[in-house]
Amino acid sequence: MSEFNLTVNGVTHSVDVPEGTSLLEVLRNDLDLKSVKFGCGTGLCGACVIWINGHPTPSCETPIEYADGASIQTLEGLGTEANPHPLQTAFLDHQAGQCGYCLSGILMTAGALLRDNPSPTEQEVTTALERNLCRCGTHQRIVEAIMDATQGAS
């Protein structure tokens, strides 16, 4: 076991976990942040995407060592029902979800895109989501919701 320090959604935590533990496990099980989802364990589906120092990253294949001292943001830190991120408002308005398991990773990927590029084209949105999978077929609503949340949307 080793001690690691990380700032998650603005709060600093110190965790004592075995070396090599995945960031996904630390976030879900040690810090109880259940928005972060396990999907494939190999960074191929995007369900576990969070931000590490602002970069959207799959947490499943990120060892805790890599996150030591880093600033992490998860969906819990993106917005709340009382103070939602524009993406969350748009996803609700478009009812952009079926089972919803892929949504947190998609919201975090899209959140980073809009932060860096407030008026993306639809093609830029689908390219950003290249590594996020949705099995229910909610893609169309998700893209419409993201476009609706962009600065260019009226």
């Binding site: 979800g97 919803g100 999978l133």
Partner: protein
């Protein structure tokens, strides 16, 4: 007057089984159908709110539980709205009448004069009498539903047509809601170390060595079942990986040769049903015939299977996202030799399963491991590779179609011979050994072959084998394999997907043969007006008949799911240059009376996109020992950049019963895409998926 109770209400007639009205104004509703991401809880809330005359916000839908909920069987076959809808509607209408009578007694009025709006009973002149909350203590709901005519709900508030999904806010704000998110005091993590492939048996495992690994609490080794329970999730995974790598197994080559799958299907022992056997007309016109195939497909839930169980004070409590908690309870009780009354199965929402995936197996594994460590909640989590290799998949299918057309361009004879593994292997359907690890722990490498639902339940492999078209002579044979080296069970629409793909593609071949427009050809063979209407609606919306640019193609297809469910027609627009791009799907749907228009749209959009993925990309790959497509690179599914635009047109039939929409689009989408590719390239694709490789093969063969 007496009337017949809806079937699931007749089976669970006590009103209090379904509903509680509380004195704080809240209403608890229980149904036996479970939320799969299809929005059933929202649709049922809407039905109840309208029937009771209350705000939907006061209704809480309690998750299905084998102890408290009405048993409505499986959540499958697009039947949730058809089963739960009428029962809830009836229950709420009866509750409303009982409360109206109580309010009337208070005010010395006729109950019929009372109109509940927003939970309040008022006289026709608007005078307030009492609310559901105030009357709660006066009405006993522990009574049986009465088989008498009920007041219609025109006497309640104006109907609410749309309600936002009640489960979505949790999912969009990242709050725990899924089976994966459950935590309990003292919960331990389990992982299974699977055999290398179906049929392999354990020779030796380094059990003691693994027991000494960090965090490992115990190793369970029974027959061919090997599992690890550890304090931390990562430790469990590490130990299970080590166990899998360092155990020795017998070699098994039980799987068929993937390159000769059609021959293999033909060689297997089968059980055959004659779905239809009309006298042959035997005209001398030339016959056309073709063989269509579909590969094995996975459910491919984005969250691999997961379950939690605990054995405490002799009661085995299981949390699962199974689509059939009641059947699962019986199967687990019987497998573990525990009285069924001592097993409680609680449904928790999961990632979309689209049929019978590994959820039930994971639930059994959690239960089995919980009995090994009484008092500790045990959480089982499958890996991605386990989910893609060990969940029951949907059977590959092969069909031979033949038809005769007369000189007027009408089909006179139609025949199909079909081969498929069974599509029903759920606990409760297959009586013996339906759970993967139950077989493995008994040293049984392969589960008994999956069966099929009977004709009354619209078949399995033979679902939609019968054309809805008006053909004078139809002959249909369906063979179900009695061997099952690759484990199969139910996937969204069962055999209907392949049968509609084959039928609607072959119809296009016939239309082409006699040079008749595919839409006209279909309309001229249909008598059902609702069928014709969806075809015409989809065609009109898509601009059927317009001239298309080079390299573009347009195709149409139609089906009525199960020949008694929703009507669906699809027009596909494709661009065929270096590869196939499905640009747009125009879908027209008739689900009878629409409960939630947005709910239907969402289901149809999702079905259409998932079916596009099946059509263009998906195929379970295997060698003679095991399934080899075990990640999203070897089993690719459609990505954001590849999804078509889906345009949904709803045909409203307020006077017709509501029909489920979840499975209606699957078959028509695959056929419409194939027909569109034929229109673009002049090449007929008879083998799914339409990958570059299969297209090249089809070009070479033509």
């Amino acid at each position: 007057m007496t009337a017949e109770l809806p079937p699931t209400l007749a089976a669970n007639p006590n009103l209090s089984k379904w509903i509680n009205i509380n004195s704080d104004g809240s209403i608890e509703l229980r149904i036996g159908k479970v939320e799969l991401g299809q929005g059933i809880l929202t649709a049922i809330t809407l039905i109840a709110a309208n029937e009771l005359g209350v705000d939907p916000g006061v209704i809480t839908m309690t998750a299905t539980n084998t102890s408290h909920s009405p048993n409505e069987g499986l959540t499958a076959g697009s039947k949730s709205i058809q089963d739960s809808g009428p029962s809830v509607s009836w229950v709420c209408a009866e509750v409303r009448r009982l409360f109206a009578q109580a309010a009337a007694r208070l005010a010395d009025l006729q109950a019929l004069d009372l109109r509940p709006v927003n939970g309040e009973f008022r006289n026709l002149d608007g005078t307030y009498i009492a609310s559901y909350a105030e009357l709660a203590g006066l009405v006993d709901l522990n009574i049986k539903a009465s088989a008498t005519d009920l007041p219609n709900n025109e006497t309640t508030q104006d109907s609410i047509d749309e309600l936002r999904r009640i489960d979505l806010p949790d999912k969009i704000f990242g709050r725990p809601r899924f089976i994966h998110d459950l935590i309990f005091e003292g919960m331990l993590h389990a992982r299974i170390a699977r055999p290398p492939g179906p049929g392999a048996h354990l020779i030796a495992a380094p059990v003691e060595e693994v027991k000494a690994m960090p965090g490992v609490r115990t190793v369970v080794s029974t027959g061919d079942f090997l599992a690890v329970i550890a304090t931390r999730e990562g430790q469990a995974q590490q130990a299970a990986d080590y166990l899998a790598q360092h155990s020795s197994w017998t070699e098994s080559k039980a799987l068929p040769d993937q390159d000769a799958l059609v021959d293999w299907f033909h060689e297997q022992p089968v059980q055959t049903i004659q779905v239809r056997n009309d006298p042959m007309i035997g005209r001398p016109e030339p016959q056309l015939s073709a063989t269509y195939t579909r590969p094995f497909l996975v459910h491919g839930s984005i969250g691999p299977s997961c379950a939690v169980a605990t054995l405490q004070d002799e009661v085995l409590q299981i949390w699962t996202n199974s689509q059939g908690v009641f059947g699962l309870r019986s199967a687990i009780a019987s497998a573990l030799g525990i009285k069924v009354e001592l097993v409680v199965v609680q449904h928790v929402e999961g990632p979309g399963s689209y049929g019978h995936n590994g959820a039930d197996d994971a639930a059994f594994e959690a239960a089995l491991l919980a009995t090994a460590m009484p008092g500790n909640p045990i959480r089982v989590q499958w890996t991605r590779a386990e989910d893609l290799a060990w969940e029951p998949v949907s059977s590959a299918m092969v069909s031979h179609l033949a038809a005769t057309i007369n000189q007027e361009g009408r089909i006179t004879e139609w025949s199909t011979e079909l081969w498929s593994n069974g599509h029903a292997g759920r606990p409760g359907y297959n009586r013996e050994l339906s759970l993967l690890s139950d077989a493995h722990r008994s040293g049984i490498g392969q589960l008994p072959p999956a069966v099929d639902p009977p004709a009354e339940a619209s078949y399995g492999g033979a679902r939609n084998l019968e054309p809805l078209y008006d053909f004078p002579s139809v002959n249909l044979l369906a063979h179900r394999l009695l061997t099952m080296p690759i484990r199969t069970s139910a996937l969204r629409s069962l055999g209907a997907h392949h049968n509609i793909f084959a039928m609607e593609s072959f119809l296009d071949e016939l239309a082409d043969q006699v040079n008749i427009d595919p839409l006209e050809f279909r309309l001229s063979h249909l008598v059902d007006e609702r069928a014709k209407d969806v075809l015409k609606a989809a065609a009109a919306a898509a601009g059927w008949g317009e001239k298309l640019p080079d390299n573009q193609g347009r195709g149409i297809a139609f089906a009525r799911y199960k020949n008694r469910g929703a009507y669906c027609a699809v027009v596909a627009d494709v661009i065929a240059v270096d590869s196939i791009e499905v640009k747009k799907l125009t879908v027209a749907v008739d689900v009878g009376r629409i409960i939630s228009a947005d709910g239907v749209r969402n289901q149809i959009e999702g079905g259409a996109i998932q079916a596009t993925s099946w059509t263009l990309r998906e195929e379970v790959k295997f060698d003679r020992s095991k399934i080899t497509s075990t990640d999203w690179e070897t089993y690719p599914i459609l990505r954001f950049r590849e999804v078509p635009r889906v345009e949904v047109h709803l045909i409203s039939r307020p006077d017709q019963p509501s029909l489920g929409s979840g499975e209606a689009a699957m078959g028509p989408v695959s056929a419409a895409i194939g027909n569109a590719i034929f229109s673009a390239l002049g090449v007929r694709l008879r083998n799914l998926p339409f990958t570059q490789e299969n297209i090249v093969k089809a070009i070479e063969a033509s």
